[in-house]
Amino acid sequence: MLVIDIQQLSKRYSMGDQTVNALEEVSLKINKNEYVAIMGPSGSGKSTLMNVIGCLDTPTSGLYNFNNVNVSQMNDNQLAEIRNRQIGFVFQTFNLLARSNALHNVELPLIYAGKNKSERIELAKNALRQVNLENRMLHKPNELSGGQRQRVAIARALVTNPSIILADEPTGNLDTKTGEEIMMLFEELHKKGNTIILVTHEEYIAEHANRIIRLRDGKIEQDEKVEKRILYNN
């Protein structure tokens, strides 16, 4: 089942009197339960592509169908709703609310979705259980380790049961060992049927995915299915 269908999508910025082509005529299809890594050096347009896929930004031209709905012309509020219900973000810098505990951070998307309190708590606890943080849920971000923070962020991404999980350099701020643990977690989520899109510039992180899309100068340079080179036997 097709989740993401991007056709000839371009994104241009104007910087002073210069126009920067961040994305040029990019076409891309991603199916349900794929595990895709988007790679490329800085300036290749991978952040822009991630922002467009994540409905944080709108394309200048081209078509973007998300779950067979054209989102390329949607307004701010409609995009917010798509982000809320269909997309789970995991960021390099975790992006948790510092003053709220883990449970509240995970609950937040459900507040914006208008779920009632008891349902929210149940879903949030459930998501925290999936990332093995059930016993830390009343701790604030500054009382958690980097890996734990990222797991809270993953729980927040999971809690609305979104169509895709969009992870932008999720291990960038973590040491290798913790990074591996987080990648194992993504592996597990993939096995459970989630669609995962990973943005990274690290080859060994991308190797967890089973499809790698390489960007250069705003264009797709290579899009290949790969044999999983890293497998966990747990």
Partner: protein, 412 residues
Amino acid sequence: MQAKFINFLFEIREGLAISFGAIRANKMRSTLTTLGVIIGIVSVTLMGTAIEGISRAFNENISRIGTDVLYIQKHAWFDNDAWWKMRNRKDIAMKEFYAIERNSTYATLICPTVFTAKNVKFQNNTAQNIIVIGSNEFYPEISGTEIQYGRDFTSDEVLGGRPVTIIGFEVADKIFHNQNPLGQLMSIGGFTFRVVGVFKEQGKFLGLASLDNRLLVPIQSFFPRWGSKRGINISVKMKSMENLEETKEELRGILRKSRNVPPTKEDDFAINQQDLFIKAFSSVGFVVGGIGLFITALSLFVGAIGIMNIMFVSVKERTREIGIRKSIGAKRRTILFQFLIESATLSLLGGLIGIAISFPLSLLINQFLPTSMPISIVIVAIILSIIVGIISGIIPALRASRLDPVEALRYE
């Protein structure tokens, strides 16, 4: 529709939780920011309390005189510019009182009054500077002063100038202490009078001059003792308010004739009416209200600017937070309300501090005016501070709600 409404309630609750968190995290800054609002709310509540006090004083003191009483005096009450002219007028004399008594058809009760101040004494107790009023048996009714113990004068006592007196509550308290004053003989300025009645306690006029520090004697017993040349005032109670103009005209005619005022000359007396007092009085209220309103508006304006400023800072500081919220599905409206709620909460905090400060100050006003801070003014203050908060939060909140999520997430 209902789901949307419930959603909205969740967002408001979330917004409140966020604002409390933000204010708690910046206690000092928040309190200082609300200083303008605090001053504004103190001023509006104190003004409200003072106006309430003035009108209550008015109701307790002045209105019982009755609007249907006219006062014939040498001076007009509120005509300051001609005061020096009125000084040289002939005093109002008993002759005029008799003329009105004889000829007026619109008057129901008429009483002449004359004043002096004397020391009074009973046994070894003395009281200084008690106001001695000479009048007739209608004085208590016209002046709205009830007799609590004993009785009024009879007309025989008035006409015969009997040495009897009705004393004020404070006089009774000062010189009779716990004894029953009725039937006792007391000295007024060296002359002996028998107490026949005690007035009911009146309290203070506008909280200043005691109305209980006086006593009443028949006017015919006043003149021989303290001088018959004194000018008097005449109070006239009308049959009905509908005949106000006719009554005034009739009195003018009687007085001009009695005082031999030639047709070409102006009146050399004044017919005063309570509503003149009401007018002057309400203008006092207007002045207090005007000054209070000016201070309130000014400080609330300053307060609003302060809150707006701190909200801009708050939005700037929390750009990243806004980005996070937007990325997980907060709509423009959600962010807008979040910051509006925050500025309203901040301003409300100022309002509550203001009320907390002005409450003890209102007790101070209570020393002068019979008042306490009315609950309505507290409600007004609360609503006002919330409105100030919302108005000053609009622009920062709009700016926050329109942030581009990509930019906001990148903000360091």
